[in-house]
């Protein structure tokens, strides 16, 4: 337990955690720069260091990076990282209403809250959560992904039909590339560039950032909204009011984060969906700047950080891409990551828990400073802001993997997204389809292959699994609770 406080007391580790968190916020905020990339560069960089120092720095970058993505999502409608996609849905409308300061303040406090829930879950329940995560069979991943896809209904805007079209388009885009199961090329037109698929971060920057910049070209003469920066730190009564929502969202975040193969992006989207379904009287309608629509994803994606460490520290199985890199780092530093890690080197576990807690405290400090300056950014006239967004989008996309092809994709999707918006289609379902389509594709095929193509056997196994039945029951509840029974009854009677 003494190791819990190691990074709090050792001045150099304290400094490294702080520096990591601060750097993480900016890495997260710049679209294209990802925490995974930063962590893998840090591994070469910290090769000769003591392992604790390397871990402290990476934990800081991880915590800061997941949070930082919301900055650009709120201010510019460009999610800095996939985990911030859901934050843009209500965060950006808030900024357009002159509440960028409040939005950033709220997202900071709720991220830290979610972060702490993640750390607590890691500290007290890691072995239980990881055994639970192992229970998820391919059919359960399929159900999760389908549940996530129900979000299309939430994100459709004016017309469900247009939402469905956009979602289906996203799924089709997600299918491009080598089939992950048979290595067969799909829609690759024989080019190597398309073999790795369409990079969805590039698509995300185009669909969100560039298309919004193009839409803003219509309002060049409109004066930017004056930003209210008098109250940055959200008042206590607001925090208390949203505490139950934040806790629910954080629990979703921990579980989704702990599942190998799903991370902060899916956690945040599912938390957003949950908020939209459970909050009866939001501060404003969702999608138009509801506080609830920002709080839920922000709590969930930071809680997912703690969740991602759970299978990594207990089983040596990465919970997401970043923890996969950390596993590599542990290995290079001569440790043996695996199920014995917690038994043979418990100090490493407690050091990590303490370190993540510390990073969250720094997150609160750094997150709440400098907000005024950031909020003023939105007050820039469109003639400054639009070129800024375009430059940031191009540079960010190029830096994903130094590929010009990605930049072309990003610009193409930007113009396409603009046309979609002009005709009343929402771009949210497209990105959702790109993320969840491939997951549905492989989970379904894996589930069917697992039973030797015998569907009867699949049903048999599903019925025998309590987890699958609970997920099915939950999905049935989601669907049935949305039906307007009274209206349906009236229609049937008449």
């Amino acid at each position: 337990m003494g190791f819990f406080l190691l990074s709090w007391l050792d001045p150099s580790l304290l400094m490294l955690t702080a520096a990591g968190t601060l750097a993480g916020i900016y890495i997260g905020a710049i679209p294209g720069l990802s925490v995974t990339m930063a962590a893998s560069i840090l591994i070469s960089f910290t090769f000769a260091w003591e392992v604790n120092a390397a871990l402290a720095l990476i934990a800081g970058v991880f915590t800061g990076g997941v949070y930082g993505g919301s900055r650009s999502a709120i201010l510019l409608n460009i999610p800095g990282a996939p985990a911030a996609i859901a934050s843009a849905l209500d965060g950006y409308p808030l900024a357009r209403r002159g509440e960028a300061g409040v939005a950033i303040g709220l997202s900071t406090v709720m991220s830290v809250l979610g972060g702490f829930i993640g750390v607590i879950a890691l500290a007290v329940a890691a072995p239980v959560i990881s055994e639970f995560a192992l229970l998820f069979a391919p059919r359960d991943y399929l159900l999760l992904a389908v549940m996530g896809l129900l979000l299309v209904g939430t994100l459709s805007g004016e017309s469900l039909a247009k939402g469905l079209f956009a979602g289906a388009l996203g799924i089709a885009l997600g299918m491009v590339g080598l089939d992950p199961m048979t290595a067969e090329g799909r829609f690759t037109l024989g080019t190597v560039q398309l073999m790795a698929g369409i990079p969805y971060v590039a698509a995300m920057i185009g669909f969100f950032g560039v298309s919004e910049a193009l839409v803003q070209l219509h309002n060049l003469r409109v004066k930017p909204v004056k930003q209210d920066v008098s109250r940055i730190i959200p008042p206590w009564r607001l925090i208390r009011k949203y505490l139950p929502l934040s806790l629910r969202s954080s629990l979703i975040g921990v579980v989704i984060g702990a599942l190998p193969g799903t991370g902060g992006d899916i956690a945040a989207l599912m938390a957003y969906d949950q908020a939209k379904r459970t909050v009866k009287n939001p501060s404003r309608p969702f999608g138009e700047g509801a506080y609830e629509g920002l709080i839920a994803p922000e709590s969930a994606n930071n809680a997912a950080v703690g969740g991602a460490y759970v299978p990594m520290l207990t089983l040596g199985i990465p919970g997401d891409a970043v923890t996969a890199v950390i596993l590599g780092a542990l290995f290079i530093h001569g440790l043996k990551p695996g199920p014995m890690l917690m038994i043979e080197t418990p100090h490493l576990f407690w050091f990590t828990v303490g370190n993540l807690a510390l990073a969250n405290i720094f997150l609160l400090v750094f997150g709440l400073t400098g907000i005024r300056a950031f909020a003023k950014l939105v007050e820039c006239p469109p003639s400054v802001l639009i070129p800024l967004i375009l430059v940031l989008s191009v540079v960010g996309t190029y830096s994903i993997q130094n590929s010009v092809v990605d930049v072309y994709f990003m610009l193409g999707f930007g113009i396409f997204g603009y046309l979609l918006k002009m005709y009343g289609f929402q771009v949210g379902p497209v990105i959702l389809g790109m993320i969840l389509g491939p997951m549905i594709d492989v989970s379904w095929r894996r589930a069917v292959i697992s039973v030797g193509d015998d569907l009867g056997f699949l049903v048999e196994e599903a019925v025998a699994s309590p987890l699958t039945m609970v997920l099915m029951a939950f999905m049935a509840f989601l669907l049935l609770s949305q039906v307007k029974w009274r209206a349906l009854g009236r229609r049937l009677r008449s």
């Binding site: 080598l178 790795a196 996969a324 001569g334 043996k336 830096s399 993997q401 894996r446 697992s450």
Partner: protein, 335 residues
């Protein structure tokens, strides 16, 4: 930071471009770029990142590492092939490109490259869910023959280690099983522990700790001798002696440069990697994790690659998994 360093490297080299032929600059005069064809945290990535600092010390220049993933490594390989043949770009790769032509993935493969150094190889380990009744490879195979189409193997896709090893075992006597493809060894091991798959083949490095903790059961190592990191696990040849003709077989990790780089650069790189790979810190790391350090280059490396390709391609062809007949690609049958 990485980008700035590359940019500065590029700027520094620009004035030299015209002068290189006239006044040969001692290689290497600036940073190198190492492109890793697999993702961060994977075996290729970890092996590459572990050896590189020792190579940098021997070379006297930095090697900036970058992951370029996708297309089972074809994206990274094609990228490096598109850069100048000056020896300043290296490809950190694994075994996969040897099967690109057989599986119709890409027309570029290691024939367009020269091996600088084969770093290490992993030994496949056949593991089972801990609640399964089998304790030896023979018991597993007998059960699969008794219950065709009922037992689930986690695989990593066609041409992957699990697929090839199960095909090799089946060459001693056919059996029918369900092969469920997962996204890699890690997700496969996860499914195995959750009971969603019954058995699989994993690299020794990835599985040693899980075996030691008793979370999975090791039935055999796909090798002619036992491994020091997995004491008490018998070699597969104990049950199936005829498998020896296919061994050694398994994933390996190495560094390549384009075929037509200057001889001077090649010699310097080979020497630097030979020194770096011999570093005790690296060799201990590899053997401690159940890998076998190779540290081979030149003709010896070429021979290893040719034999690996021939054995694997023909096993796939016989199992009907090859998309292009190895005979038309002039891949000789294994002798």
């Amino acid at each position: 930071m990485m980008h700035r360093r590359m940019l500065l490297g590029g700027l520094a080299a620009a004035p030299l471009l015209g002068a290189t032929t006239a006044r040969a600059q001692a290689f290497p005069s600036r940073d190198l770029l190492g492109v890793i064809q697999w993702g961060a945290g994977g075996a290729t990535d970890v092996t590459g990142r572990a050896v590189t600092p020792h190579v940098e010390a021997a070379l006297g220049q930095k090697i900036v590492l970058q992951n370029r993933t996708g297309g089972t490594g074809a994206i990274g390989l094609t990228y490096v092939h598109g850069l100048p043949s000056d020896g300043y770009t290296l490809l950190y790769g694994a075994e996969n490109p040897l099967l690109y032509k057989v599986l119709n993935i890409s027309q570029l493969d290691y024939t367009n490259f020269t091996p600088i150094c084969l770093l290490a190889r992993s030994v496949p380990v056949i593991v089972a869910n801990k609640d399964k009744p089998w304790n030896t490879l023979k018991e597993l195979v007998d059960d699969m023959k008794r219950n065709p189409g009922r037992i689930r193997m986690a695989s990593t896709g066609p041409g992957g280690q699990a697929h090839v090893v199960s095909t090799m075992i089946a060459s001693t006597g056919a059996f029918r099983h369900i092969s469920v493809p997962f996204d890699g060894e890690g997700p496969g091991l996860t499914a195995l522990q959750g009971g969603h798959a019954d058995w699989m083949t994993v690299g020794s490095g990835a599985v040693a700790e899980h075996v030691r903790a008793g979370r999975v059961k090791a039935l055999a190592v796909f090798n002619e001798t036992p491994l020091p990191s997995l004491p008490g696990v018998p070699p597969a040849t104990a049950d199936f002696p005829e498998l020896a003709r296919l061994m050694p077989w398994g994933s390996f990790y190495g560094v390549w440069a384009k075929k037509d780089i200057p001889d001077e650069a090649r010699e310097k790189l080979v020497a630097a990697f030979r020194t770096g790979t011999a570093n005790p810190q690296f060799t201990q790391l590899m053997t401690g994790n159940g890998n076998v350090v190779m540290n081979t280059s030149g003709a010896e490396a070429e021979a290893f690659l040719a034999r690996w390709q021939s054995v694997t391609a023909w096993i796939l062809q016989e199992a009907g998994a090859a998309r292009t007949d190895p005979a038309t690609l002039n891949i000789p049958r294994p002798s």
